[in-house]
Symmetry: C2
Subunit: 228 residues, 2 copies
């Protein structure tokens, strides 16, 4: 099963006219990757735009020392590789299949042609980029202005809100990956989870976490309190 028959379900392509959708469908190429496989690498020349169709894709940077900072984990419907597309030049980060996945690929030339034809596609693209900038700004704030407990608290609250599953959060990534997502390392994450547990803020059960005290977490995320 894939989603190609429903291009209009992808947020980037919603509200497009059917003619436009057909054009896109024509230039689109499906590509499959197995878990861990590299899709592109930071510095490669940007040759087009990708959209996750099935599975998940990890966008990340790696330091010479080998530490990894995950920028995004994208699921179906999310575009990536678009920076190189519009700013020209190369990919600013690397992409890898986080799970086995299928992606839609639109060549640079073809896609730009489509954008030129239909301004509403440009508008959607602007919205996508803006949201991404907003997310980056938040990440920068976290990395620079908050310590790890604050970032973790913010992330847990974000997850609970996104899933809408109330106070029970299920981590869909390993704790090691969560650490990279938060800009830290597994050991530190483990300690902080234990500490939050001890303080009665959360209850950790494997990869499911119960938020016992959302207000307390909120205070942590806002930097109003510290985790002693």
């Amino acid at each position: 099963m894939d989603r190609c028959g429903r291009l209009e379900d992808i947020p980037l392509f919603e509200d497009l006219e059917s003619e436009q959708l057909q054009d896109l469908a024509q230039i689109l190429k499906k590509q499959n990757f197995t878990r861990g496989q590299r899709i592109f690498t930071e510095g490669d020349e940007g040759n087009g735009l990708y959209v996750v169709d099935l599975g998940q894709v990890k966008i990340f940077k790696i330091s010479p020392a080998g530490k990894e900072q995950i920028l995004h984990i994208f699921g179906p419907g999310n575009p990536f590789g678009e920076i190189a597309m519009f700013a020209g030049e190369s990919f600013p980060a690397s992409a890898e299949a986080f799970t086995d996945c299928q992606v839609l690929f639109f060549s640079r030339h073809g896609f730009l042609e489509c954008v030129r034809k239909d301004p509403s596609l440009a508008f959607n693209m602007l919205a996508v980029l803006s949201r991404r900038l907003r997310k980056f700004a938040a990440l920068i704030e976290d990395l620079s202005l908050k310590e790890v407990p604050g970032r973790l608290a913010a992330h847990l609250l974000y997850l609970s809100e996104k899933d809408g599953a109330g106070d029970k959060v299920k981590l869909e990534v390993s704790k090691g990956h969560l650490a990279a997502l938060l800009g830290t390392i597994p050991e530190t994450l483990s300690r902080i989870l234990a500490k939050m547990n001890r303080q009665g803020l959360i209850e950790v059960n494997g990869s499911t976490i119960l938020l016992l005290d959302p207000d307390g977490l909120e205070d942590l995320a806002e930097g109003e309190v510290k985790l002693t």
Copy 2:
């Protein structure tokens, strides 16, 4: 003196047709701010797009504890406030006059109207946003993966390249601000500058810095060496 007569000199507006430029000129409003004055604050509702006309504007975030992370310092020709414009909602950061300055303001509605009319304006906007995303990705990498000496080295090299002034770099901001730009504090910056001085990497003279060993700095920036 201002630049309004030459809207087409602004990168965002280059290659637009004259009719389009006239439309923009019509909806534009000039605003003046004195050094330190707040232009907008994180969380405010985004009411339009700004372009620096004269002087400099600082875009930043502040932690509850009062620490500041500067995201950008924009000079003439740079747009800001555009995220809220396209992603809807509120400003993700605050803006303040870094020097006395004059900015051009385009109301949300009017500007979107112009974008709708002329796809090439949308293209320019996409390029601007993409470059900004690229810059943010680099900043995230720096904050998360590099230590302060590496960030400083990278910044110095960046400045020397930008100014094209060879190995002599003149800081156009105070060292305190540079610290905030690098995500650290004045004391730390001072110590590291002193250390680099001692190691013969640079020579500091007030706000002018001589890069004595660009290759050494490069190694630092890439994280291949550490500053002992």
